[in-house]
Subunit: 339 residues, 2 copies
DNA sequence: AATGTTTATGCAAACCTTTGCATAAAAACA
DNA sequence: TGTTTTTATGCAAAGGTTTGCATAAACATT
């Protein structure tokens, strides 16, 4: 038998006063006598009264909850971003509804619908790799629901966005490889439906071109994901080339770790015979042998900034006059896997 | 200027019918004429009507949302558990509010209060390492709010619980080390406020005792956390002993990775001179060199089962007659870091 | 004593939706 | 035509909270 939770009316009935008085007493309204206030507060405590935010939210048309949709939660990248988001939101008393799209556009849409019905105050979304059509996101802005896109771009959608300057990060990495004498530099790209993967690929090509290193198509392979497993096959393909690469720039640390594994298995010495550079600075990367050179991304800051912009938008009543597009800067970290 | 979202009353006014009729039309109530129903549904679509679940939840006293509190989200362990939780909940149309306690009891309490006010239907909690007093959890059960504890125990609290049999996992690991000839087996324990850490320590001692290997206090060191960084100092301490260990069993893979790093830096060969075994089977562990032997835990299943039990409890109106305590089985995975 | 002022409280509406009950209109039947 | 049945719709309450306005009681002022 489920006993109902204590409400403001329960307290009122017990004390023979009206619910309004109870409400005011609990909210420190000045026009309440000390006697009444004390009595109310005490009874509330003994009855373990907890305000029903559903009712209040309905009244205020505000839930103090924001919806977060990420492709996956298990990657160190996104979990670290979420960390940053929580650290900004928590002191503000704002809750997070989190869900993963598993890189599926259908799931993304369905989560979106669900969050919208719950009336979250705003959205923080990093779109799935399948998401090419932004109608579902457009509906949010059409309905004046604040939305901030982070990390992965939705080109053409006019909302606040926060990115890492992937181009710069990748450019630094490749340029550095060239400068340390590598000439046959390969790139294991990510799924090219992602803006991030495209930017890194472009930077790779541009950096090579700038330094007059020919761009060869056979040195560019695409991985279908971001785990070490996804790095195995592409690396095997690269090593099997007539003229195998003397450096590999991988889309992220996960794939780079897979690459190192294959390279070492093949009896090649890193970095003497082949350099490896990743992206993300996964917390484990510096403990590999050799430790993995990589491009650090300010993930925590990315989360914080995205959340801060979203909250500002929410509190300014979603006035869309000044859309912000912010870029954070990544940093090359040279370790043992490169010369 | 924020335009209000479409409500059922807007549709009713527009169509000159009552809100009840609109509600019934949208819910396929039989006593509505086809003509009215069609008109309603069409208008709802063009106005992009989305039901306000706040109102409905208030009426139903049910939010279809559950609250999840974990110590941290960035560890592969907990993010994988959350993965399992979502995969069970999602098809049921249940949402997740997720928050991290950051191993702080105060934060845990405050998140709890917040989730309770939001009226989540139930809780899935893995307590922080600081949590020794369970009053705040007791309040939940006192108020008939379903709660499932997972992974870390709250001894004395009578609620549903789902664990991994840590003892068995650790015992397997240590016994295996003994059987491969190690005699000076060290243990880097986790924070001993955690039931999991205590169980593993006990298994370590018991396994040694069973095989008549003396338990030496200097071989037991405590780490204050679970990252590679937390493994550095304890390992240095172990290696500095007059008679350094020939095997290290670490509280988890993170710490084991830190240990391997220190050991290799010291010029010792793994596993010839010293074996290392971790716990958790972090996705990266098999790509280290040598690859890390570890104890795999069914994290995904842990999440699924916990969520399943919670949903059952919620749907059975929290009838507490049959508290369940479930245990899942871990498995030793032998790789290159041990003989 | 009469009036004005302050203090403490209550009433009722609003937020949005569902649903039991009542009822009007239409259809079917005698 | 009058009565019963069916069909389609509306009314009002409920869920818990806040808040503008009204008001009763207590106090202060002349």
């Amino acid at each position: 038998m489920k006993k109902a939770r204590t409400t403001i009316t329960d307290i009122a009935r017990e004390l023979n006063i009206s619910p309004s008085t109870v409400s005011r007493a609990l909210n420190n309204h000045p026009a309440i006598s000390k006697k009444t206030r004390d009595a109310v507060i005490e009874l509330a405590k003994t009855l373990n009264y907890q305000p029903n935010l559903l009712a209040l939210n309905l009244l205020r048309k505000r839930t103090n909850t924001i919806g977060i949709i990420v492709p996956e939660i298990t990657s160190s990248f996104f979990s670290s971003v979420i960390n940053g988001i929580q650290d900004l939101l928590s002191p503000l008393g704002v809750n997070m509804m989190i869900s993963q799209s598993n890189e599926s556009m259908e799931e993304e849409k369905s989560i979106l619908r669900s969050f919208a019905s719950i009336r979250v105050d705003g959205f923080l979304i990093s779109p799935s790799s399948e998401t090419k059509n932004f109608d579902h996101l457009k509906i949010l802005t059409d309905n004046n629901i604040p939305l901030v896109i982070f990390d992965r771009d939705c080109e053409g959608l006019e909302v606040d966005k926060v990115f890492v300057d992937e181009y710069s990060g990748a450019f630094q990495a490749v340029e550095y490889l060239v400068k340390t004498g590598c000439r046959r530099i390969a790139h294991i790209a990510g799924p090219l439906s992602l803006s991030t993967a495209r930017h890194r690929l472009k930077a790779y090509k541009d950096a090579l071109a700038l330094h007059h290193v020919p761009v060869k198509e056979e040195y560019i392979v695409e991985s279908s994901g971001f785990t070490p497993e996804h790095g195995i096959k592409p690396t095997q393909k690269l090593l099997a080339l007539p003229s195998p690469p003397d450096a590999v720039f991988a889309i992220n640390d996960g794939v780079a770790i897979g690459a190192m594994y294959v390279i070492k298995k093949a009896g090649l010495v890193i970095p003497d015979e082949i350099s490896v550079v990743g992206f993300d600075d996964d917390p484990h990367s510096c403990y590999f042998s050799p430790s993995l050179s990589t491009v650090w991304q300010p993930t925590y800051e990315l989360g914080m900034l995205s959340a801060r912009i979203l909250m500002k938008r929410i509190n300014s009543n979603n006035d869309l006059s000044d859309i912000r597009v912010e870029e954070l800067y990544p940093e090359l970290i040279v370790r043992g896997s490169s010369k």
